[in-house]
Amino acid sequence: MFKYLMTNRKITRRQFLKSLGGALLFLTSARFLEGLSLAKAEGFNGRQKSDIKGLHDLVVSEGENSYLNVVEAVKAMGGMERFVKKGDVVVVKPNMAWDRTPEQAANTDPDVVASVVEMCYKAGAKRVNVFDNPCNDEKRVYESSGISKAAKAKGAYVYFTDSWNVVEAHFPYKSKIENWPVFRDALTCDKFINVPVLKDHGLTRLTLSMKNLMGVCSGNRGNIHVDIGEKLVDLTDFIKPDLTIIDATRVLIKHGPVGGNLADVKQMNKVIVATDPTLADTYASTLVGIEPSSVPYIKEAIARGFGNSDLSKASIKHIKA
């Protein structure tokens, strides 16, 4: 057709209609294909929690080596075999949001993540997925946080999230994040292990396990900050993490959650392991001397009776690694 148009100067009515029709078909088919490739996300009603309890409600391990810290703490909880069964697909969700080095303490310690991944595989996991939806450029974050390298060395699948591979969150009650897009992989897994880092945060005072779950959300995430307490408790209820391992090896105590100044980092050398995210968060906030009820999502959890926020009622074990 092109050659014809170039060599002959005349065009018949039939040819005109044919090319017009062809162009229209091409353009509409492009729209149609676009629609197919970005079809609407399906709804999802929340993960089923495995409800496996540990030997204790919460274990705190202290020691120089963060890797051993995690190993000992999980062992005291009853071992990873208690939580991860043979053939399980496990999601390990670290805090891997900022283009910062491990020393700057804005992301989870890579050794902590590596240790969790290794234990999952030893417990018989079929596959361990590690991902986050970072705030800085994905590639830079994955590399500079050191997590990608450390987790891959232990055999984990570390990948970037896809904004099209999401489900819409549906709740049995009225929620302010009804229909929020959540990454499918976070929900289709058998076990979800949340591995946040304890650090300062401007709005919520502290970034803890519930705040770390914002990393499985897609969409305009800034909007989650409005009424953040309610939304994060809803989200935690939706994801239902099976195990929460809070990294308090290096703690950013000021200018969080990004930091950048090594002077703001406090070496605490602790790791907290719990099955109840509320309990883990409550305990972690007392570690840095912050009243739990001043953290919006813990306050909301207390008000709603979501999880156990009373440290006096929990069995807490301290160990040295």
Partner: protein, 517 residues
């Protein structure tokens, strides 16, 4: 077996592949085999005339020497064997049904139009002597690179991505196929699908140039290419020439020559020959050859003496004069700059390490390297926001991306130093602009709600966005204010602000601040 033609096609293909490979790998972490600067450092037009107009010796100037020397030996090989734009133009020309490919141009017209490129380079040269760099407008490597970086690669990655997504979603391939796609995304394909505003303008410019080949083969190379003009001028003195031993005057070589370089069957315009080797195989007598033969000055003069080719003295003077006058608007601007009436400042936000506005416009060759390499896609080609001179210069658009705090990639890839290289620590303290909160839009100020996403993302270790604590009713509210001294204008606050359609925090260029004057 047309061995030489096959060889040329392999060379063309290899260089086009290399060209696209270099630009494709111009991305974080910048670990391609060759740095992207190298494309333009091997380009005499850019290197020589930018050096002259900017009064500097650009690093990498030495890379043009092998090309110039080889041209002195064999002739205009670059156009026929290397130039990626030439290769694309050949490809488009092959689509054309017009068999006698210079049929639209008679001999006299052909001889006339091909001197236009010398006029182009004359204008560029006059401009550069007066301190105006015009080489970028018609440079073939720049045109090709800008097309590849800002049109081709984004379109191809988009298409591949969509195909994968379509397949995965519709055929439920969430297993190994999805893993393969994820690996591809992390390595070859790139995590982001880039978007460039006004990219259609770049595409249009490119299409106009390559489509000219449909009507007259290699029209752009014959008529307008200033880089071709440099090589054409040098190839007059080259050692390799075409010789026809026994000619039967069949004129086949003449009617098939893609450059229209044949005068008659035995003679040709040497400076127009791009060594495509077609005439060797066209010749029914098989007596057309290229041989090394040092030729006398007289022979050179004779060969070029075709009525209507070459520039007359009158044309030369007229053109020099007009180019001189054309440069006046620029001179005036420079004078204003020198008389310290204040720097001419941009109302666009320029990348870190960019020269000041007047110098940036001259230095920048609009190759698109900085925009291609930017990890957040914040660098965008300007349209006419800064006048015609500012066309396609890089500026930051925080609605699309933001300047990554630890990243200095754009300062590493600029071939002419329009964006000068910065160490990370210097870049982190380079002020691009200053953020300002619009208290009427901000949900913390206007609606007393929790937000401060801007403060959360601020990468400055001391936080350039401070919080004001307030109690409204029984609720504690934090409200953001910008510390104008700490703020570096990276724009992540504007980019991440959840308020739509206009963000409640916006980075203003330094020139827009009242106290900067």
């Amino acid at each position: 077996m047309k061995r030489l033609i096959v060889l040329r096609r392999i060379s063309q293909g290899a260089f086009l592949f290399l060209f696209i490979y270099i630009l494709w790998s111009t991305t974080y972490p910048l670990r391609g085999a060759l740095p992207p600067k190298v494309i333009f450092q091997a380009d005499p037009l850019i290197m020589i005339f930018t050096s002259i107009s900017e009064r500097v010796i650009l690093p990498g100037l030495i890379f043009i020497l092998p090309f110039l020397l080889l041209t002195l030996i064999v002739g205009r090989f670059f156009c026929g064997w290397v130039c990626p734009l030439g290769t694309i133009i050949d490809g488009v020309g092959a689509l054309s049904k017009v068999r006698k490919r210079h049929a639209l141009l008679g001999d006299r017209a052909n001889a006339k139009v091909r001197k236009f490129k010398y006029l182009v380079i004359l204008v560029i040269a006059t401009g550069s002597l007066l301190g105006v760099q015009l080489a970028w407008i018609f440079d073939p490597l720049v045109i090709a690179a800008r097309f590849v970086s800002l049109n081709l690669i984004p379109a191809v990655t988009l298409a591949i991505n969509r195909l994968f997504v379509f397949a995965i979603k519709n055929f439920d391939l969430y297993g190994g196929f999805y893993d393969f796609y994820r690996n591809l995304k992390g390595s070859l394909l790139g995590v982001k699908i880039y978007y460039f505003s006004n990219a259609a303008l770049i595409l249009l410019f490119f299409i106009c140039i390559i489509l000219s080949a449909v009507f007259v083969s290699r029209a752009w190379c014959r008529v307008a290419c200033p880089l071709g003009a440099i090589y054409a001028f040098l190839s007059r003195f080259s050692l390799l020439s075409r010789v026809v031993y026994t000619c039967v005057r069949c004129r086949k070589c003449k009617s098939d020559c893609r450059m229209g370089a044949m005068n008659d069957d035995t003679d040709y315009v040497k400076s127009e020959c791009i060594l495509c080797m077609d005439c060797i195989y066209d010749c029914p007598q098989h007596t057309s050859r290229f041989v090394i033969s040092p030729v006398s000055k007289k022979a050179i003069a004779q060969r070029e003496e075709v009525p209507g080719s070459g520039i007359t003295r009158r044309e030369f003077l007229l053109l020099s004069a007009s180019a001189f006058f054309l440069s006046f608007f620029k001179l005036e601007r420079n004078l204003e700059y020198d008389a310290s009436k204040g720097l001419l400042k941009s109302l666009l936000i320029r990348p870190p390490g960019a020269q000041d506005e007047a110098r940036l416009m001259d230095r920048c060759i609009r190759c698109g390297n900085c925009m291609k390499v930017c990890p957040t896609n914040v660098l965008q080609p300007s349209a006419f926001g800064q006048g015609l001179e500012g066309l396609w210069t890089p500026h930051l658009s925080f609605e699309i991306g933001y300047c990554e705090y630890n990243c200095t990639l754009c300062t590493q890839v600029c071939p002419t130093g329009a964006i000068s290289g910065l160490p990370v620590s210097v870049k982190q303290n380079t002020k691009l602009g200053v953020a300002e909160v619009d208290r009427k839009k901000c949900i913390a100020w206007a609606d007393d709600k929790e937000c401060i996403v801007c403060q959360e993302h601020c990468p400055v270790p001391e936080k350039a966005i401070k919080l004001i604590e307030d109690v409204v009713g029984d609720k504690r509210v934090y409200r953001p204010v910008v510390d104008k001294y700490l703020c570096i204008g990276c724009g992540i606050c504007q980019n991440k602000c959840p308020v739509r359609p206009e963000r409640a925090i916006q980075v203003l260029p330094l020139a827009a601040l009242p106290d900067s004057r």
